[in-house]
Amino acid sequence: MRILRNLRQALHGLKLNKGNTFLMTLGVMIGIASLTVIVAIGEGTKSTVLERIANMGFGPESFSVYSGGGRLFFGRNRNITSMTLQDADDIRAMPGVAIVVPRQRKRMRIINKKEFTTTRVYGVSPEWQPARQWKVVDGEFFNDMDMDRKRKVIVLGNTPARKIFGEKDPLGKKIRVGQVFFEVIGLLETKGLTESGYDPDDRALIPLTTAMSRLFRQAHLHSIKVVSTSSDIVRQTMEGVTQVLRRNHGLSPLADDDFRFVTPEGIMQWVTESEQALNRMLLLISTVSLLVGGVVIMNILLVSIRERIREIGVRRCFGARRTDITQQFLFESVLVSLLGGAMGSVVGWVLSSSLKYFDFLPVKITLDPFVLAFGFSMVVGLIFGIHPARKAASLSPDETIR
């Protein structure tokens, strides 16, 4: 077939003009490599967020209410101090509420003699354990009595325990959190690092009352986790909680809420919105990088045509039609673009893998960007090859052969 013969001539052309072929390939290669890396980072970020949500211990029947207005994790005002234990008690008294876990949280240094580490210290009620369904593998979780007596006891996650005790058994040992000494009474079950590098085991838990009066020395809560009796009544429960909190905080009907809900649904919606925004950004970056690659191909092909004007003339002399020349140069453009796409995919894969290996950024390598790269590079080759190919074909044989 004539078209296959022109394809073969295109391959010859690329082989003979290695310098130009390399430069054209380079443009697309950079574009596709950046596309694949960006997509991998995007996927990795999304994956991280989803894993963190999963690690927040959300079931379909639970939600959290955070101090300060705003949306999800983005509080409008971090200095709001209106959420109190009274709120938690009132919510607990509501119908349809199974578990209520009031929480305080602070990142603090914990010290065992000369060993120390910084971890997330949570002040929680004993209901935290059933609400999160997180087992204690050694020792025990604190109980209501510990809460009532504001005892200085602590349950460690695996990470801080390992960091400050090594292989030694931490149970019964005293550690210092800030300026206060605590006795280690339990070790949480190890969850392990998530794929994206988030460490759910990097935490320590103390009784909420102890946190409020002895460690953080603050009366207001950071958040309250609420578990409904059924997932069907979550929305109703949230409405009830809104009423309770607005009443307790003395908010006028026109005032904004000084608290915000974090629900699995809300997070998913946020993730979806973020993902869409991220995808739009990715599309823009990829389009720009591929456009640059395409323009490089077009310009080099145009220069190449000038250099190869004799070749075009000779081919025309010996019977090549305009369509033959068009096809040959279009094939060259598409082939070089595909080659750039393939090389870009390899480079992208290597870069993504390196980012993952060295733990620079959350990265998730999927097949999609590589399939996209193939399609994109073909389209780029076609679109940016048309003009040079038509220009080559439009050259008059007598002018090209002189």
């Binding site: 081919r315 010996f318 019977g319 305009r322 033959d324 052969i401």
Partner: protein, 246 residues
Amino acid sequence: MIKVSKMIEIDSINKVYKNEGFETNVLKGISVSVDEGDYVSIIGPSGSGKSTLMTILGCLGQATSGTYLLGGEEVGKLKDYDLSRIRNEKIGFVFQAFHLLPGVSAFDNVMMPLIYCNKIPDDAQERVKQALIRVGLEHRMAHTPGQLSGGEQQRVTIARSLINDPKIILADEPTGNLDSKNGAEIMRVFDQLNAEGRTIIIITHDSFVSEHARRILTLRDGQIVSDKINENFKEPQAGLARVEVK
């Protein structure tokens, strides 16, 4: 009496080049006919219109006015598609600068016109081989132009011009880049091709070259000023076309 058919008939051909508002009348009402199997050389000083005439005869460009019949077919008004077909099937070109595809073997250079045929002949490879054997380059088939001497390159272009078995060979200064020995060798090939019945038209400055032709046309200022039979013409013998490699 043998009836000789007309291979080329041009009548009142004019060619005007327009450039930035200026018009240059390169060919001025040229009329000439060439019989099948004729051996014609076109001579003339630089700027006389020789190369322009060749582009028109070779269907590489079209005349501004006038008619051109090639083998009885009016080609002056044909579309690019048909002109490409005619160039592929009926005309073989030999150029002063060889115009071989760089980096491509002699074999593939000779093969090139065949890829633009509607159907590549089944014996294409054999034909290329035979064409190269015929010009004495069987030992240079895999060599690229850069690895060949000027004479060898010109022989490759002749093999390439013959590959589609054209009726006409158009040669533009075929010995212009060769030394006298290689030039004589190349002219011997043209003589033998003509003896086989092919129509040969050679454009040249060189009187040694023009003396090989049966008929000499002289062009000056875009007009044919002389059309004479070469009295010194020696009828070449057919069947000795193979070039001896020295």
